[in-house]
């Protein structure tokens, strides 16, 4: 049987074992998640990893595959292991809980710090807000709203790697969707929250987030939008 040699990161905390090599049978249309699942179910049941939907909807199976953050469920082995080499590690820039499972708390805490919650200006007694589909703000929201919080951009961002306070592409992208939401009432606080050395101004426009986003979003463009809006807010005194 055609076999694949797979190096998988094992450990976490004080129990690091480094990369361990497993032999996995090749299958047609096999995904990297299939490979990890085979190892856990047929070779070593102690392997820890995270997944849910298996079809690219939930964003929970992202890992580092051959040095690059990817959704493992939507990555075919043949697309990344043409030379028969496959190396699977947890997402970068996040603490490892065990094996391939990272602690996503700081990633989502930064969404909260970027004021990523919708703040309504109307009540249930008011009429529905009317937002024209072709409105400039609506189009800006459309371009950025499909993020499912997988963390691929965060793991791919060089700035996150050297500035642990940096909010990161996903949180800033989320803030940008709310900045453009005409129903939201917290833009002054949100613009203040995303400005500065830990916010949008730390972005170097490397565009790794945009290059790697499995949803094809462009967080770099969202961050550029935030830079423009924070500059305007600083000029008008909305950011003091």
């Amino acid at each position: 049987m055609n076999m694949l040699s797979v190096r998988v990161w094992r450990g976490g905390g004080a129990a690091d074992r480094g990369f361990v090599t497993y032999d996995v049978p090749r299958q047609p249309a096999q995904t990297v998640l299939d490979v990890v699942t085979h190892i856990q179910r047929c070779v070593d049941p102690t392997l820890a990893y995270r997944f849910a939907c298996r079809v690219g909807m939930c964003g929970s199976c992202a890992m580092t595959v051959n040095g690059r953050a990817r959704w493992t469920c939507r990555t075919h082995v043949e697309a990344v292991a043409g030379d028969g080499r496959l190396e699977i590690a947890p997402l970068a820039n996040l603490p490892v809980i065990r094996d391939l499972v990272t602690d996503m708390r700081e990633f989502f805490d930064k969404w909260a710090r970027a004021k990523g919650q919708f703040v309504p200006t109307a009540t249930r007694k008011d009429e529905f807000a009317t937002v024209a589909p072709a409105a400039k703000e609506r189009l800006a929201v459309d371009a950025a709203i499909e993020c499912i919080g997988c963390g691929v951009c965060y793991a791919s961002c060089d700035v996150v790697g050297w500035n642990r306070d940096y909010l990161g592409p996903a949180a800033l992208n989320r803030a940008w969707t709310l900045i453009n939401d005409v129903r939201d009432g917290a833009n002054a606080e949100r613009l203040a929250a995303v400005a500065g050395d830990a916010g949008c101004h730390a972005c170097h426009t490397h565009q790794s987030c945009t290059d790697r986003c499995p949803k094809g979003l462009a967080p770099t463009a969202s961050i550029a939008g935030l830079k423009r809006r924070t500059a305007l807010a600083a000029l008008t005194g909305a950011i003091r």
Partner: protein, 117 residues
């Protein structure tokens, strides 16, 4: 003024000065290429620049854009690589801007003031 407001305004200043610099650098390079086609001497340069308000104005704008743009970039690099923040680095970068402005304007004055030879 808060650090967040300072950052936002510095970003705007750097973007604006970058736009000015893009234009100035192109004019500067094209002028250099055209000017050296027939050989280049100090007398030839000074003959063109001495007493010229246009050259003085152009390079004064160039120097001003550099004095705004460069310290903001250096500030970001120092902040990221050395972890330096706060008023100290702001004061150091302001001093750097003043130094660039003074040296640049002195050079502009040296080649544009005085009688055309």
């Amino acid at each position: 003024m808060s650090a967040r407001r300072t950052q936002s305004l510095l970003w705007l200043a750097q973007r604006t000065s970058a736009g000015v610099l893009a234009l100035c650098v192109v004019v500067h390079l094209v002028t250099m290429i055209i000017a050296v086609r027939g050989g280049l001497t100090a007398a030839e340069i000074l003959g063109r620049t001495r007493g010229s308000f246009a050259w003085a104005a152009f390079y004064a704008v160039f120097v001003l854009a550099v004095a705004i743009h460069a310290p903001i970039g250096v500030r970001a690099i120092v902040a990221e690589t050395r972890g330096a923040h706060g008023r100290g680095i702001d004061a150091a970068m302001l001093a750097f801007a003043v130094l660039l402005l003074a040296l640049g304007l002195r050079a502009v004055a040296a080649v544009t003031m005085g009688p055309a030879s």
